[in-house]
Amino acid sequence: MFDIERYYQATDIQDAVAALCADPKAMVIAGGSDVLVEIREGKLAGVSLVSLQGLAELKGIRLEEDGTLLIRPMTTFAELTADPLIRQRIPMLAHAADQVGGPQIRHVGTLGGNLCNGVTSADTASTLFTFNAMLEVTGPAADWGGKGDPGDVLLAKKQIPIAEFYQGPGKVALGTGEILTGLRIASEDYKGYHGHYIKYAMRNAMDIATLGCAVNCRFDAACGHLEDLKLAFGVAGPVPMRCPETEAALKGMAVGQALNQIGARAAAEVKPRDSWRASKAFRLQLVRELSRRALQQALDFARQEGGAAHA
């Protein structure tokens, strides 16, 4: 039995925003795989919920005219992994989503929930950092001002880069009444890139990452040099993070040299902490080793395709 004060099933985005405005303490429930756990633990006991389940507008994946990939937030991990567009264009995300928990949780948990919970270990987050994902947030329009019947709420949309969305552990850039309604990856951020995400955890399933490492690169035609590199980590800091200095230093480098340098450079840039789950020294060792292995894997992928990257 869960200690839930009130449960409201929204009928569409407008209705969800209205319900959240009417009860500013209420929170969104998507798949519930974080929310229900926290209610049971007592952290969220007595909460009121607004459910996004079944809202067709929040489901699905498509390609926009300019080649931008649009993913709606209620897409589950299993749907992400199985989706032909994702598999073709950004297989790295299909793989990352497949690292989550186990089969049951991957059919329940959503991409939106994975980002909106604001945790550093979220398995899709570091990969999405390397794709410069843009988040579409829908909420009450500023000029609505909260006056009148919440049912008449005017909606406004804004676009937030993923790196700005994360504001601190468990804290994301969502104000009262705001929900995540979409995630976009522009074609220049995926075309020509090869990448790989490595989840390092204590178990091979049903575990959260001790460290997550995402490498996304563009190589030259001969796969001899790195034209571009994006490197992101989960659990190497309070929120998922990129390593801009390492990226800048390795850009243009011969791959052999890059493989030699990436570990030490990344380790100098990240800020993991000591916790009872893992020491800082241990996480730094993982940063060194995993960044190199992920880069190597990205290179192997690129070579397998003979340099023909994401179409």
Partner: protein, 763 residues
């Protein structure tokens, strides 16, 4: 089909289809919910509890605190009661305790209409404590001046035992001996049975009925009587199907509190469905232990003198107490024997941590980790062949324990080792994996063990059984021994068929134990039931068979001795001729107009024997050095458990034990913060291996015929969990040259030690 056949489990269909009823399935819909308030300090006193706000909450029926419960201290260990006070279990807790002894101690309980109300009420109770510094390590608890955790135990030593066989110091004087020492440490771990301990209780005719997920219904009845200060006969305990116990339910957990709660609400049904988090913290754990071993060895490998010093971390309450580390020391003395001297010291220490209790292997996984690591270390240090060295010193047939007389009536240890060695490819891999370089390195390791069967002569061994004939010639088999997921019901049915001559499908096992009607048996523990309860069953079955034959003799006018029962039919022995079916015989016995006879049999077996089972584990690992990961490439357990009653369920039992061994070796441990609060009491942070962490588990047997077992059988329940951890540790040693003397061998520990060993350089 009788003994030796791999028949499907008699409860398989019910369990797989979800029809089998477990405690939770039986809870009445209108049961009140009990919930426990746990302390948020590890050491101290409850000064006051203010329940006034909580009582105002609609739906709260009753709140009881540590100030209200009967002033009775009671024991909780699932041991048979002893009529000698000196052998009785330590009684060191009340139903709720004002003196707080670990973080999570039970200090109050709420009874409410439902869970949400109860959990809200718990939050409204205000507690004032007097706090003492938490004593979280054995060192801290043993330090001079440390405050006693139990007043009656001033130095925090629950019990300490030292003894010597021979003279250790004298034995060391022999010239040419190599003295090798090692220190080893094992963690506190949890059983992680699928079904939580749970119960519900109500009153009927002035008696308390408790339905509980327990391994030991008769002991639970006794302890409820003791804890509440009421006659034991006023209590009735019912045990339905249970989803695993592994020793945690060889303990009287919350049944006495549950029984007490129902008395507070006029006998209305109260359920106590504790959470997984509470299970981790407030039930029992496997004791963490620290070992210091010393061995004096001749150059040829013969062990001349051996010494063990072991400290066992008891946590806040005595539970099974020193019995567990005693079993560790017994195994130390039994598996290998020194030629001249064995010196032992064991000490069980109270600390402000969750309490250690019984867990599969009962102290033996701990000592076997230490001992088999030590044996490997000795072999490496002296350049001895690790297997030959073990075999030279290991227990042989005919061994009689000098202290308790337990005798090695049969052993297949050497054959177990031979099979495991061949399977893993020991001889070539020991060589080919030498001098590896690079990030991925392989190794093979092994370990052996011995394990007794039941608890005689350390404690009472008694069991009883009943067979009842039905009007159609089939029979109910009623055991005091309990099915806890291990397959007991199935092998009991096989044994009964074997000895009575009834077809196995004509034996209906009553799986539920109900202390009002079930014959007496202390329950499932010590790998005893196939052996001890099996003897009671065999005697009962013989009696039953004899009664059937006598009945046939009366009806047919043929001597009972001239007849036999096969496939539920009475046959003439000499001619092999069919005489009468049991169905027809039963019809006559129940309905004949001249003389009717209700046929039953019941027997008690007071077991005064014991025997050793053996086995070996061989493992091959691949270590990813820069990532601190161990991959089990292959692993086999080979067991001598005497004759197998059901080879397939025996194999399943071994799979489960091996999986426990993997977790013990590599990932499982309970962690606490500086205040004694459990950090990882949930399945996310407590790392039980998943199916993706588990390799194919190979199993093989060496079937000896033990002369003391009812069907040639010996213990099998616990042994599978014993040898895995040291075998894996020794394989990692072989692969990397790094010895891990502390389990679990976690990635972080590996990275730290690999770094110290210089293995990470250049990566």
């Amino acid at each position: 089909m009788g003994v030796g056949a791999s028949i499907p489990r008699v409860d398989a269909f019910e369990k797989v289809t979800g029809r089998a009823k477990y405690t939770e399935d039986l809870m009445p819909g209108n049961a009140l919910t009990g919930m426990i308030l746990h302390s948020t300090i590890a050491n101290g006193l409850v000064r006051s509890l203010d329940v006034s706000e909580a009582l105002k909450l609609p739906g709260v029926e009753r709140i009881v605190t540590c100030f209200d419960v009967p002033d009775i201290m009671f024991p909780t260990a699932g041991h048979p009661w002893s009529v000698e006070p000196s052998h009785q279990d330590v009684a060191d807790r009340k139903l709720l305790n004002q003196r707080v002894r670990y973080y999570g101690d039970d200090i109050a309980a709420v009874i409410a209409q439902d869970e949400v109300t109860a959990s809200r009420a718990l939050k409204l109770i205000k507690v004032a404590y007097e706090e003492y510094p938490p004593l979280l390590t054995m060192e801290a608890a043993l330090a001079p001046g440390a405050r006693p955790i139990h007043e009656e135990c001033p130095g925090n030593i629950l019990k300490q035992v030292t003894y010597q066989l021979g003279d250790f110091e004298e034995a060391l004087r022999e010239p040419g001996l190599r003295l090798i020492e090692g220190q080893y440490e094992t963690p506190a771990v949890q059983h992680c049975h699928l079904e939580k301990p749970m119960s519900f209780a109500y009153m009927e005719n002035g008696r308390i009925v408790v339905v509980s997920s327990t391994q030991i219904p008769h002991i639970v009845r006794r302890v409820i009587g003791q804890a509440l200060g009421i006659p034991w006969g006023k209590v009735r305990v019912i045990k339905p199907y249970i989803g695993g116990g592994f020793g945690n339910k060889q303990e009287v957990l919350y049944e006495p509190l549950n029984a007490y709660l129902t008395t507070l609400v006029g006998g209305r049904c109260v359920k106590l469905d504790i959470s997984r988090e509470e299970t981790f913290v407030s039930t029992r754990t496997r004791h963490g232990m620290q070992f210091h071993l010393k061995s004096a060895v001749r150059p040829d490998g013969r062990m001349v003198a051996r010494q063990i010093e072991v400290y066992s971390n008891q946590g806040g309450y005595a539970s099974h107490g020193h019995a567990i580390v005693s079993n560790s020391v017994n195994t130390f003395r039994q598996l290998y024997q020194a030629e001249k001297a064995t010196a032992t010291k064991s000490c069980t220490v109270y600390t402000n941590l969750p309490s250690g209790g019984a867990m599969r292997g009962y102290g033996v996984p701990q000592i076997i980790f230490a001992l088999e690591s030590h044996m490997q270390d000795i072999a490496e240090a002296m350049g001895l062949d690790p297997i030959a060295f073990r075999e030279m010193n290991a227990m042989k047939a005919g061994f009689v324990d000098p202290l308790n007389g337990i005798t090695c009536h049969s052993t297949g240890l050497a054959e177990c080792i031979a099979k495991g060695r061949a399977y893993i490819g020991w001889d070539e891999k020991r060589k080919s994996y030498m001098n590896q370089t690079g990030p991925l390195r392989r190794g093979v390791g092994m370990a052996i063990f011995s394990y007794k069967t039941g608890v005689y002569p350390i404690a009472l061994e008694t069991a009883s059984c009943r067979l009842v004939l039905n009007q159609d010639g089939t029979a109910q088999l009623q055991m005091g021994a309990t099915e806890i997921g291990q397959g007991a019901d199935t092998i009991f049915a096989q044994m009964a068929a074997e000895t009575t001559g009834l077809r196995q499908e004509d034996i209906h096992v009553i799986s539920t134990q109900d202390t009002d009607v079930t014959p007496f048996d202390p329950g499932a523990y010590a790998s005893r039931q196939t052996y001890v309860s099996g003897m009671a069953l065999k005697e009962t079955a013989q009696l039953f068979r004899q009664r059937l034959l006598d009945e046939a003799a009366r009806r047919l006018g043929i001597k009972a001795k001239a007849m036999d029962i096969k496939d539920s039919q009475i046959m003439e022995i000499r001619s092999g001729k069919f005489l009468i079916s049991l169905a027809d015989l039963a019809a006559l016995a129940f309905y004949s107009l001249d003389k009717t006879q209700h046929i039953t049999a019941e027997a008690t077996h007071h077991c005064k024997d014991n025997t050793f089972s053996f086995g070996a584990c061989f493992a091959e690992v691949e270590v990813d050095i820069p990532l601190g990961k161990v991959k089990i490439m292959d692993i086999i357990n080979v067991h001598d458990s005497g004759r197998l009653i059901n080879p397939q369920t025996a194999q399943a039992q071994i799979h489960g034990g091996m999986s426990m061994g993997l977790g013990y070796a590599l990932s499982e441990q309970l962690l606490f913060d500086g205040q004694g609060k459990t950090l990882n009491g949930n399945f996310l942070d407590y790392k039980v291996p998943t199916c993706l962490d588990t390799p194919e588990l190979a199993v093989d047997f060496v079937e000896t015929e033990d002369p003391t077992g009812p069907y040639g059988n010996k213990s099998l329940g616990e042994p599978p969990a014993i040898p895995g951890a040291p075998a894996i540790r020794n394989a990692v040693l072989h692969a990397t040259g790094v010895a891990f003397d502390r389990i679990p061998i976690t990635p972080q520990r590996m990275i730290e030690k690999f770094k110290d060993a210089g293995l990470l350089e250049g990566v």
